[in-house]
């Protein structure tokens, strides 16, 4: 709606004097970079001092700089009218969108917001939306926001958060300059002292001043003789032709007032501008600006320059702490603790904790305890070694390497051992899989934070790595692990590894690393023997059914199983069959399920049958048919018999 901008109201046609210099500077800054400096910009002045001129000047200047910019100028009355029309037409949303998409919104005469609560709410919403989208809003009023009657406190705060600036009455010199400029525009020339005489009158409203000039121009046009200063003064007085011109003494005071105004404007407003700009800047960057906002709110007893300077220094300190914290602990990146310059201590404490390893490497899963492990002849050696490690970490068996097939309980033992070591309270215990170690290393390389990654593990009091065979062919992981191994060994920290592959058969792992692993104690964790299976089944049954069934446990325990995981699978199959039949699990049922003569299942709505046929005989073997798929995690590969 740029067409509504009066083409005469441009910056170059505005006479800038002491009274409006600051407002002009702010307006120019806004026009040059809308949405970035003072947003919202609120200009107030008594009528006839050039608010609308400034407002439209912003529109013209912004358009001149960037013709693609969408600029909309309207008075508050137009704003209200179009809102009511939009609401009446059920187009409220479209109305909002219309303004939200504007790059530069210029709203004139917002003093008429008085007692218009719904329009205030609408303007508040619009101001927030424009600010969020970095779009500029400029408003004018004949009084400061706080003096607009019944204006929503939130709007007052929003305006104060931008820049609120006033335009004072023009001083004598500015009045002369305005008269000269306007006379020139009208191609009227006057004798010496004529315009000065008019300017010396106490007319502090530009419109009235121009009205006086109009009378001079009209008078001179019909007069044969040039206008004299005394006549001009009388003419400018309008109806009060005989009204005395301001007494000389009063002029002295006006001059004094004018000078004081200029000085105050320079001093006070430059401050307010500086403080407001600083608030805008730091708030925009996401920092809390309570401290500098207080400068505008409280009685000023300290030098704002110093406060601003200190605030900036604190923000820099926060930034540096944030950078360090992000490097030490990536999850601290973007934390709000680094946004409040008034709480530097909090931020520093956070970084200190991060430095001390408050963000330790992955810990062992708390679910697995060493005491839960069932000791049997097969795993006795491994468990005893584990107990020695707990009692003498970094001492006798370092590293301890647990070798065993998949599912025999290596991970369980590793985490249980990790928990037992953590209880000792020597510091953070790192317990993770080789796969996770590689993934973390890749992430650290990507963030250029390998140093921090290393430091994290070097700070660990014990290092437990599951599935070390998975580092095969991963050269960088092996390099890092080698260095870490040496460091931890030197520091006397306990290391425990698990491998599904016997060390001698490890392929793709550097000999220097393999030999170091072999240098510790290597223990085998064999397939669970009958005793282990028995204990495992008892515990599972107790956990799942809350009941004991020695016969079922005996039967299932006697079935061959390569791993603890396989024992879980056997029991799960029986439980599923029992559930599908609606009966309780029993040894008989287990026999039927695992050896044949499967009772016809009660078909469940969601059960599926695979109908697998034994390849050797071609006959349907019930044991090879999976009637009901257990949960994915519990699925097992049935052995062929």
């Amino acid at each position: 709606m740029t067409a509504t901008l009066n083409p005469l109201y441009r910056f170059d046609t505005l006479v800038v004097g002491a009274a409006n210099r600051l407002a002009f500077t702010a307006a120019k800054a806004v026009a040059e970079s809308p949405g970035t400096v003072y947003n919202p910009l609120f200009i107030y002045a008594r009528p006839g001092l050039g608010k609308t001129h400034l407002l439209m000047g912003i529109g013209h200047a912004a358009k001149a700089i960037n013709p693609r910019l969408s600029v909309e100028y309207l008075t508050l009355d137009e704003f209200v009218e179009s809102f009511h029309a939009a609401i009446a037409a059920g187009q409220g949303e479209a109305y909002r969108r219309r303004f939200i998409d504007v790059d530069l919104l210029l709203v004139d005469d917002v003093q008429f917001l008085t007692h218009r609560r719904e329009m205030q709410a609408e303007l508040l919403r619009l101001t927030d939306a424009l600010q969020t989208a970095n779009r500029q809003i400029v408003l004018t009023s004949d009084r400061p926001p706080a003096e607009i009657e019944a204006l929503d406190e939130r709007l007052i705060r929003r305006f104060a958060g931008g820049l609120v600036i006033d335009v004072a009455a023009p001083d004598y010199e500015t009045r002369v300059a305005i008269l000269l400029r306007k006379a020139e525009e009208r191609r009227a020339s006057f004798g010496k002292g004529v315009l000065e005489a008019v300017a010396s009158l106490a007319i502090d409203n530009v419109r009235e001043l121009l009205g006086a000039l109009n009378r001079l121009v009209a008078f001179q046009a019909v007069s044969d003789t040039p206008l004299l200063p005394a006549q001009a003064r009388a003419l400018a007085g309008g109806d009060a032709m005989d009204a005395p011109v301001a007494a000389p003494g009063q002029d002295e005071f006006s001059d004094f007032l004018s000078e004081v105004s200029e000085t105050v404007a320079q001093q006070v407003d430059s401050w307010r501008t500086k403080v407001a700009a600083a608030i805008l800047r730091w708030e925009g960057e996401g920092y809390r600006t309570t401290r500098i906002e207080a400068l505008l709110q409280q009685e000023m007893t300290t030098d704002p320059e110093q406060v601003l300077h200190r605030f900036e220094a604190d923000v820099k300190q926060l930034q540096s702490l944030h950078a360090e914290a992000s490097e030490l602990a990536p999850d601290l990146a973007g934390s709000n603790a680094f946004r409040d310059p008034d709480d530097l201590a909090g931020a520093e404490a956070l970084v200190t904790r991060a430095r001390q390893g408050a963000h330790p490497p992955p810990a062992p899963s708390p679910l697995w305890k060493l005491d839960d492990l069932v000791e049997a002849p097969g795993n006795r050696m491994a468990l005893q070694a584990a107990r020695v490690v707990v009692s003498e970490p970094g001492g006798r068996y370092n590293p301890l390497v647990i070798v065993g097939a998949s599912g025999v309980g290596k991970t369980h033992l590793l985490h249980a051992l990790g928990n037992a070591l953590a209880v000792e309270g020597r510091g953070p215990v790192a317990c993770l899989s080789a796969h996770e170690l590689t993934a973390e290393l890749i992430d650290a390389i990507g963030r250029d934070a390998v140093g921090v990654w290393r430091a994290r593990y070097r700070a660990a009091s014990a290092f437990l790595l599951d599935d070390v065979h998975l580092i095969a062919e991963k050269d960088r992981t092996q390099d890092e692990l080698f260095v870490l191994f040496n460091y931890l060994m030197e520091q006397g920290r306990q290391m425990v590894f698990s491998s599904a592959v016997p060390l001698a058969e490890l392929k793709g792992v550097e000999a220097r690393l393999r030999t170091r692993l072999e240098g510790g104690l290597v223990v085998d964790l064999p397939a669970p023997d009958r005793e282990v299976r028995h204990h495992v089944l008892e515990r599972l049954l107790q956990a799942k059914l809350g009941a004991r069934d020695p016969e079922l446990v005996d039967y299932l325990g006697s079935r061959p199983a390569e791993s603890v995981r396989a024992v879980h699978g056997l029991l799960q199959r029986v439980l599923n069959a029992a559930e599908s039949q609606g009966s309780a699990p029993s040894a008989a049922l287990a026999r039927e399920v695992l050896e044949g003569a499967v009772p016809k299942p009660v078909k469940r709505a969601n059960s599926r049958s695979s109908g697998v046929v034994a390849p050797a005989s071609g006959a349907r073997s019930r044991e090879k048919i999976v009637w009901d798929w257990p949960d994915v995690g519990d699925r097992i590969v049935e052995e062929w018999r």
Partner: protein, 200 residues
């Protein structure tokens, strides 16, 4: 005294006219009082002796209206010039934002001027204030008197104005230099807003 009060959006400047007795301090205030529109001036309080000398102080509050959103007030004070009123001078000087030193240009008052200036420095120092930190201007009054009775502005500057601050030649009785002096000190005081440090 706080120069700028952002809560009340108020600027208050306390300006003290200092100088030897009968140098024209009260006359300055009276002239200002006479030129200020009624709506802008408060009641001028003058406590004078029977011989019309200032006994305690003169006080002229000026309301300059709202400037840049701040209600701006000037408070003009004079101190009693007579040497035996030093306690009063000290009191009036407290919290001053600026000082106008009104010197009597008559040659015969030369020593009085020096003594009063010394007294100003002493009184400021007694309040822990270095005179160099205070906005001060000099006004050489009674320059309308015959040339052979007075010292010129340059001579007065040589005698009193060691720091080469602003000085004004004045005839306070007829108003010459009165507002110029007030403007001069006001500008210094207001420019000092940035530091927000009052005199005491």
């Amino acid at each position: 005294m706080s120069l700028v009060n952002f809560t009340a959006r108020e600027i208050t400047c306390k300006i003290v006219y200092y100088g030897p007795g009968r140098s024209g301090k009260t006359t300055n205030l009276q002239y200002v009082y006479g030129r200020v529109p009624e709506s802008r001036r408060g009641r001028m309080v003058s406590l004078a002796t029977q011989t019309d000398r200032t006994l305690f102080f003169d006080f002229l509050p000026l309301e300059l209206g709202t400037i840049s959103g701040f209600t701006t007030k000037f408070q003009l004070y004079t101190v009693p010039g007579q040497s035996y009123y030093n306690a009063t001078r000290k009191l009036v000087l407290q919290g001053a934002d600026g000082v106008v030193f009104v010197a009597d240009s008559q040659a015969r008052r030369f020593d009085d001027n020096l003594e009063s200036l010394q007294n100003l420095q002493d009184n400021l120092l007694a309040q822990g204030i270095d005179v160099r930190q205070v906005p001060v201007v000099f006004q050489y009054n009674k320059q309308d008197l015959p040339r052979d009775l007075i010292l010129t502005q340059d001579e007065m500057d040589d005698a009193l104005n060691f720091r080469a601050v602003q000085s004004f030649s004045a005839d306070a009785l007829h108003g010459t230099g009165v507002f110029e002096t007030l403007k001069g000190v006001s500008e210094l005081v207001l420019k000092k807003l940035a530091t927000g440090t009052p005199v005491a």
